[in-house]
Amino acid sequence: MKNFNRIVTRELSVVFRSQSEFVYPLAFFIMVTSMFPLAVTPEPAQLAFIAPGVIWVAALLSLLLSLNAFYQSDFQDGSLEQMLLAGVSGSLIILAKAFANWIVTGLPLVLIAPIIGVLLNLELQANMIAMLALLIGTPSLCLIGAIGINLTVGLRNGGVLLTLLVLPLFIPILIFGASAVEAASIGKNYSGQLAILAAILILSLMLAPFAAAAAMKISID
């Protein structure tokens, strides 16, 4: 637990000393979502119809973009290797890093989503549910993404490959996240989808750190 706190504190202080790189995913989220009214239609009813999907796809992509900043430099300058050598377990490092990743990228997405929802004409209740679904869903994205980034972190063209590896694994979260918002916007029951998102979170909390730690050791070797 002490090590967990130390790593999280370290990650957060790295973030606050070099802000710019960590703001990009958030700016990306806002910009991508505002492209859709321009590309599809500014008509309010249509916008509300596509809003759940747009918000979730943009959230997936911006989380994918954020992964690199958390693992690349630590891998290259040998910090990850030193942490492992110091006897910290790999899965604990992953857990702490994924938590810091969520605080820095996931949480701001959750907070800014209602504003995007208003821009896309999503009504109040659906907007709140979108926020709740993102709150439960984004931590799983950080954990699953950690597996992908640790598999590709040592490669030259890791960026595009990361997308290929991770997006198929994000699909269940995308489906249940977007359908919760959709159900809320047409007045249906949405608790089932949220419960499954929570179940996916528990499952990825249990399994993803081990897989990502194994991947990290392979990349370092």
């Binding site: 290929l164 198929p168 699909i171 269940p172 489906i175 359908s179 159900a183």
Partner: protein
């Protein structure tokens, strides 16, 4: 008792056995495939609703079946390679990938061809079709990851981890896609409503499934032999083999 298991781990032993067995398996595979195709395409009856288009089933169902089976084999072989550090297991796992991707693409393609006359469209976002498409993405990711590493050992281990993550995810993806589909639309055209299959159609189908399995084994052995030669090119037995074959 474990002797055969350790022998299996030796590339040289595997190479010699695979070389001896492959011709026999090929003969069996070709005769079964011929029998299955003749029975399926000529002697089996046409469907009372779909007519002759139903005959694509004899390719489509075995291909779809193989696409899923091969992914599981690939993941299990990868896990064996990770746990027991067995060279051969990684070779099997890696050789599976492109064959599996080929079967998945074949299943999607024949499905699209079958879909046009029966459903009136090449593609619907039905649960099964979507899961099959995602399976293709998983195969492509595996192959891309393996080829991105310069170091073969690291490539083997990394792609084995990915295959295991994928195999845990496949049931979740399948379940979620099914849920998503039923949320959007009720009963679709997708479930083919036919009475339980007649034996005149069942037999050719079963023969074709066995033939496709043999085809997989034969192709796998070919790929494994190539992979072994490539990886063991410094070994004395490979050098001797190449020198002998030149004469």
């Amino acid at each position: 008792m474990w002797n055969w298991f350790f022998q299996l781990a030796s590339p040289k032993w595997f190479y010699t056995i695979a070389r001896k067995v492959t011709p026999w398996l090929s003969v069996l595979m070709y005769s079964l495939m011929l029998a299955g195709l003749v029975l399926g395409l000529i002697f089996s009856p046409a469907d009372y609703q779909q007519g002759n288009t139903v005959r694509i089933m004899y390719i489509h169902i075995p291909a779809a079946y193989m696409s899923m089976m091969i992914y599981v084999i690939m993941a299990v072989a990868g896990a064996i390679g990770l746990v027991w550090r067995m060279k051969m297991a990684h070779i099997v796992s890696v050789s599976c990938a492109s064959i599996g991707a080929m079967f998945t693409a074949l299943a999607l393609l024949t499905g699209a061809i079958w879909g046009k006359p029966t459903w009136g469209t090449y593609w619907v976002w039905d649960a099964r079709l979507t899961s099959e498409l995602i399976l293709l993405f998983l195969y492509l990711g595996f192959m891309a990851l393996h080829s991105a590493y310069d170091d073969k050992k690291a490539a083997d281990k990394a792609s084995a981890v990915l295959a295991l993550v994928g195999v845990v995810n496949i049931p979740i993806i399948h379940f979620s896609v099914e849920w998503w589909n039923t949320l959007h639309q009720g009963a679709t055209l997708s479930k083919l409503e036919k009475p339980s299959m007649d034996t005149s159609m069942l037999w050719p189908l079963l023969i074709m499934i066995v033939a496709f399995k043999l085809y997989f084994v034969v192709t796998l052995f070919h790929k494994i032999r190539g992979e072994i030669l490539l990886r063991e090119k410094q070994a004395s037995w490979v050098k001797k083999l190449v020198a002998d074959s030149k004469q």
